[in-house]
Symmetry: C2
Subunit: 327 residues, 2 copies
Amino acid sequence: MPVTDSTTGSSLDRVLAGDTRALARLLSAVEDDAARIRSVIKDLLPKTGAARIIGLTGAPGVGKSTVTGALVGAFRAAGRRVAVLAVDPSSPFTGGALLGDRIRMQEHATDDAVFIRSMASRGHLGGLAAATPQAIRVLDAAGFELIIIETVGVGQAEVAIASLADSVVVLLAPGMGDAIQAAKAGILEVADLYVVNKADKPDAQQVVRDLRNMLALGHRAQDDWKPPIITTVGSRGEGIDEMAARLDAHWDWLRSSGELERRRQARAREEITALAIAALRARLAAGAIESGGLDELAAQVADGTLDPFQAAEQLAAQAEAVPYTRG
Amino acid sequence: MPVTDSTTGSSLDRVLAGDTRALARLLSAVEDDAARIRSVIKDLLPKTGAARIIGLTGAPGVGKSTVTGALVGAFRAAGRRVAVLAVDPSSPFTGGALLGDRIRMQEHATDDAVFIRSMASRGHLGGLAAATPQAIRVLDAAGFELIIIETVGVGQAEVAIASLADSVVVLLAPGMGDAIQAAKAGILEVADLYVVNKADKPDAQQVVRDLRNMLALGHRAQDDWKPPIITTVGSRGEGIDEMAARLDAHWDWLRSSGELERRRQARAREEITALAIAALRARLAAGAIESGGLDELAAQVADGTLDPFQAAEQLAAQAEAVPYTRG
């Protein structure tokens, strides 16, 4: 589904007017290749900046979908338009994610103010990392006040994606030993709110205590945000109103402390650097193709007659002779 | 543990002479920063190329350490010097890996012809990906005839590391549902040998059948290597001699078919490209620091007045004005 120049203008107008099909098409194009947004980004940009971005992550089985669904309900009850972007960095297939969409859509299927979308890595993690900021930009411009990015897992890819959010929620549950797993992956350090779900299970309070002990070891400045720990039972909607209230409080703090601006600039730095590296990577590939140089260099490195660092320098020098083909 | 110019010559001589401590120090330096190998690579290169590199991967719990230990025993019985590089891309900590070293070393602790080393990602996956080829180069030069790279897990990072090997072994076990997980991650496609471990468990034959069905769906050319499926009980050493024999057969095929040269050149292409991108990334960072340009660009992107793709082009242009600081 390419975004061709001839259809761009009108399809973007439809996206901005709230046409869900046009929105889904634009997101597909961006997921396929983040650079596809270039043809419309100038018209999109002035419409962005108002959305609040909430990242929600946790190990499989902690109840992310249930809690997300309940949270969407709470925000809708307050009259807000909500989009959910479910990102699965570990799965190269969209099949499962799409099935998940359909199941979760049921609850909010007739509600035009809710948009739920899954993105999988399609076997190429870099592509997903590049596409996610653009998908957020599209949803922001389309007028969603809240954008929830839900990621599966607690690995480094999830930490990177969570760092795109204004507020980061880490979801845990009793009996999964995942507080320690989350700590290992560094996800605990980026959290603004801890939610211990399945609080009706026996060990929930132990998870809260473990978490408190771990957090006591960290150092935060006096006027820093102190991430609260709350408990929920997502399946019965218990604790969800408090979760929404805590997120609102974090949002107020982000704006009053200047942290929101700081985070968004940090996010922009990451995005720019990633795009610059992608552009240079494309030029390297182009340089290699045009000169046939990489194969020659590789043959010499493989037989031990050329040091790979020198080969890399020669390749980079060749790439610089090639003009930019894409940004 | 820096490899300083003053000590380089003599410490490299010690590595080449089989000094295990000097070898461990050089590997630490390379793990810390792959580029540290630059000071010795010219002297190392002529000594490399003879080692056979075997990649072994599988989900946690399939018995990788046990099978690796048994395989080392089989190779040692044939009089070969063996090194094991255990790489854990999912763990940012070396602690667990080092403990694993000590436990597994016991069996071969008094054997100078066996060297076992763990590498963890230290929270930076790119660093591990860059360090692994250099660690292999060092072990190759140090005279190990067989280098086994053992990776934990079946994700994309593991596929990437497995692709460094001449022969790739995928380990599975009954009752873990990991054939499908492995298929999802694309690891089945890179395997040269399938080993179903824990073959004394009831469902082992079912795993073999599942695997056969999956492989029947794939297409391989007439004269391609057909990856065998064998069964082992690593804890009792059963099937390990067959495993070693199958690996020897694959090695013979690699050499007679020309595939070895093809694989090693592909590996060199990957290595050169990765190093060139790392060099360009360092120059981007240097460009940003010198001009203060990235912060300014990020502020404009964050407030929606500049498109991130244009910002990336400006950043890349700044980086080109900066001379190479490292390769």
